[in-house]
């Protein structure tokens, strides 16, 4: 009875959708939060796959990033989620795997195209099972208006002192807002602020792993110093930055009204389309001249298989393709700023993207400090870091207080920190 109804429902849906599908055709649905990329998937990526895989059709159905987790979890619980699931890094996906909502993909042939570091964001803690095919990482740094820098005779800063000297010079000139960032949405302060400049202070992986092991604490100088720098940012942001949203900041920069934009590499596509001036990029300045430099090269996005999918075989075929060189090249060039995590030597054409990726050779890479393990409990360290970073920039909390508050929150549930 219920099967009959189900059948009737499906039939009705098919008729409504008006798709003329032959019996053996399979349609795969991808769940994703990348609604910005809808067009690229529809026009570039999916046609490239379908051209060589007759009989498999792919549909990309993104929801807004903020709702993605809630929507996806509800659909998975009830059994109406798509065949392929776009994976957030670390614990969010790990929890899905442990609840049986992501399949074990360790035996996928394409997995050999990814280093263990690339896979680490989508593995069980012991590294025995990988459950998503890595797609891309994003790199943090600063994008600047090169025309404005030339006009004011400024150079890319390499140290923190030079960085503030540049900001002072722009402020003094008065023609540009020195830096485009707001605290209304909070996450920019943490992601493009704290985790952008921080690795230079806590020495990348060294500090991140020491924090996880409980050997360092968030009240240590290495973890408070980035807040001290953020506290100085406030005066260089635009008037009313407290209510400035993320799209506000993007527009402020691309309209040429602000000179520097604390960035993630994912901005490149949008900025290329909207800015009508030359742009350059520099990595986060180091505290002292000659210091070793560190960048946040964050494993950001991957794709996995819903074990409840009736089209598992076709889905695996798609996932093998996602791990291939063809996909890596298409994706990296369709979305400059999302850098392939594969071992292939992917040629990129975008100069700004090339600049970002060149830092991998000069600096040590690390990932965002709060993502692995440390955000498993309540209060959630990542979400608290958003709040603290915004608070510090607004001057509502001192760097020391912020560090203490985060440490207390972390220690309340994380044993190695107790």
């Amino acid at each position: 009875m219920s099967m009959k109804k189900l059948g009737a429902g499906l039939l009705a849906t098919t008729i409504l959708a008006g798709t003329v599908a032959s019996a053996q055709d399979v349609t795969l649905t991808i769940e994703s939060w990348r609604n910005d990329d809808l067009l690229l998937w529809q026009d570039v990526i999916i046609p490239a796959f379908e051209a060589n895989h007759p009989g498999i059709q792919v549909e990309f159905t993104p929801s807004a990033p903020a709702e993605y987790n809630a929507v996806l979890n509800s659909k998975l619980e009830a059994g109406s989620a798509g065949d392929l699931i776009t994976c957030r890094p670390f614990d969010a996906s790990l929890a899905l795997y442990e609840d049986g909502h992501l399949a074990d993909l360790s035996d996928l042939e394409a997995m050999s195209n990814f280093s263990s570091v690339a896979q680490s964001a989508w593995q069980t803690d012991d590294g025995s099972v990988t459950f998503c095919v890595p797609m891309a990482s994003v790199i943090h740094g600063f994008i600047y208006n090169a025309d404005a820098f030339a006009e004011l005779g400024l150079e890319e800063p390499t140290t923190v002192d030079e960085f503030f000297a540049v900001l002072d010079a722009i402020e003094e000139d008065g023609g540009y807002i020195p830096m485009a960032m707001g605290t209304n949405d909070q996450w920019e302060a943490a992601t493009m602020g704290y985790n952008n400049i921080g690795p230079n202070y806590w020495r990348g992986e060294e500090g991140r792993l020491a924090l996880i092991a409980g050997e360092q604490s968030l009240t240590d100088e290495a973890w408070v110093a980035p807040y001290r720098q953020l506290a100085r940012w406030g005066q260089y942001l635009g008037r009313g930055f407290e209510a400035q949203t993320y799209p506000d900041s993007q527009n402020l920069f691309t309209l040429g009204r602000a000179a520097i934009y604390p960035a993630g590499s994912w901005e490149i596509t949008g900025f290329n389309a909207q800015a009508d001036f030359a742009m350059g990029a520099f990595p986060p300045p180091v505290p002292n001249a000659g210091d070793e430099c560190y960048i946040s090269d964050h494993t950001d996005i991957a794709i996995g298989l819903n074990p409840a999918s009736p089209n598992a075989e076709a889905a695996r075929t798609f996932l093998e393709w996602v791990g291939s060189e063809e996909f890596a090249t298409i994706y990296a060039n369709a979305l400059p700023g999302f850098f392939s995590l594969s071992n292939f030597d992917v040629a990129m054409e975008d100069p700004l993207a090339q600049e970002f990726v060149s830092w991998r050779g000069e600096c040590n890479s690390t990932i965002r400090s709060t993502y692995q393990i440390l955000s498993r409990g309540t209060p959630n360290l990542e979400n608290e870091t958003w709040n603290a970073s915004a608070q510090v920039i607004r001057g509502a909390e001192t760097p020391e207080e912020a560090g203490q508050r985060l440490q207390d929150g972390l220690a309340s549930w994380y044993e190695p920190q107790q």
Partner: protein, 279 residues
């Protein structure tokens, strides 16, 4: 009659207050609409200026029309809204009549039971509702939305309608009973016409959250064929969030149909209100 109620100073003051509030109410809509017809630079340079020959641009609307099937989305929204309203009004009025007209055991409790639904955010029942729809094969059909909105709208409908039905004169109903009319005839022929203003009010109040809901279309019917206008424009806004031309045009597109719908319904609403008042 009514001489005392016509005082020129009072009338000027009344118009003054109403005009002031009308300006406040319409200003943000005005800002969105004029800017949706301007170039990106002009949007930022002079947000309050009307589009002129220099700054006029429909590039935003072009982006919107090239993306997604907005007419189809609109049709889905219409079907869902009208069908839900029909069931809410019919079932709601029947239940409200039972509660306000008859004394029976558990009357107050039943009233409270029917009101429970507006006290718990229905979002938390999402997973259970979705499971129900998956089991009955209604996922990605408009019926899933119609059923949820009907259930969601009933508490408020019963609440408001029973309040109004208590004000319907008992003499009228009893006269009907003496004439040998059945309870059903009394309800459909005598009472329903008298509570038309309240029905129109309930219709307008329920229309808004149904038309504007984002959550259940996203969860229950996200397929392209069943996307509602609100969901369609939300996906669109997410995709073009920094392209303000496109965003403002999408907002304009989302505002206009509801405005037209409202103007149509509002005629009915007012006719209902006035015909109810003049007996």
């Amino acid at each position: 009659m009514n001489k005392a109620r016509r005082n020129p100073v009072n009338i000027a003051a009344a118009h003054g207050i109403l005009i002031l509030y009308t300006v406040i109410a319409l200003f943000p809509v005005f800002v969105i609409l004029i800017n949706s017809f301007k170039t990106r630079r002009a949007i930022f340079r002079e947000p309050l200026a009307l589009p002129d020959a220099d700054s006029f641009s429909t590039v935003g609307y072009e982006t919107v029309f090239n993306q997604g099937d907005f007419f189809g989305y609109f049709q889905n929204s219409m079907i869902v809204t009208v069908a839900s309203l029909f069931f809410i009004l019919l079932f709601g009025a029947m239940a409200a009549f039972a509660l306000s007209e008859y004394r029976f055991k558990g009357n107050t409790l039943m009233g409270l039971y029917l009101a429970l639904g507006i006290m718990i955010p229905i979002r938390i029942g999402t997973v259970a509702i979705l499971e129900l729809m998956v089991d009955t094969g209604l996922v990605n059909t408009l019926w899933a939305l119609i059923l949820v909105y009907t259930a969601q709208g009933l508490p408020l409908a019963v609440f408001i309608l029973s309040e109004f039905m208590r004000q319907v004169s008992d003499d009228l109903k009893n006269a009907g009973r003496i004439d040998g009319l059945s309870e059903y005839t009394i309800f459909f022929r005598l009472v329903l016409p008298l509570v038309r203003p309240a029905m129109a009010t309930v219709a307008v109040f329920n229309m808004i959250p149904i038309w504007n809901d984002l959550w259940f279309p996203l969860i229950l019917a996200p397929a392209e064929a069943t996307k509602t206008l609100t969901l369609g424009s939300q996906v669109f806004i997410g995709q073009f969030v920094t392209d303000w031309n496109a965003v403002l045009s999408a907002l304009g597109m989302a505002i206009l149909p509801v405005m037209v719908l409202y103007v149509i319904f509002s005629r009915q609403l007012i006719r209902g209100i006035t015909s109810g008042a003049v007996k």
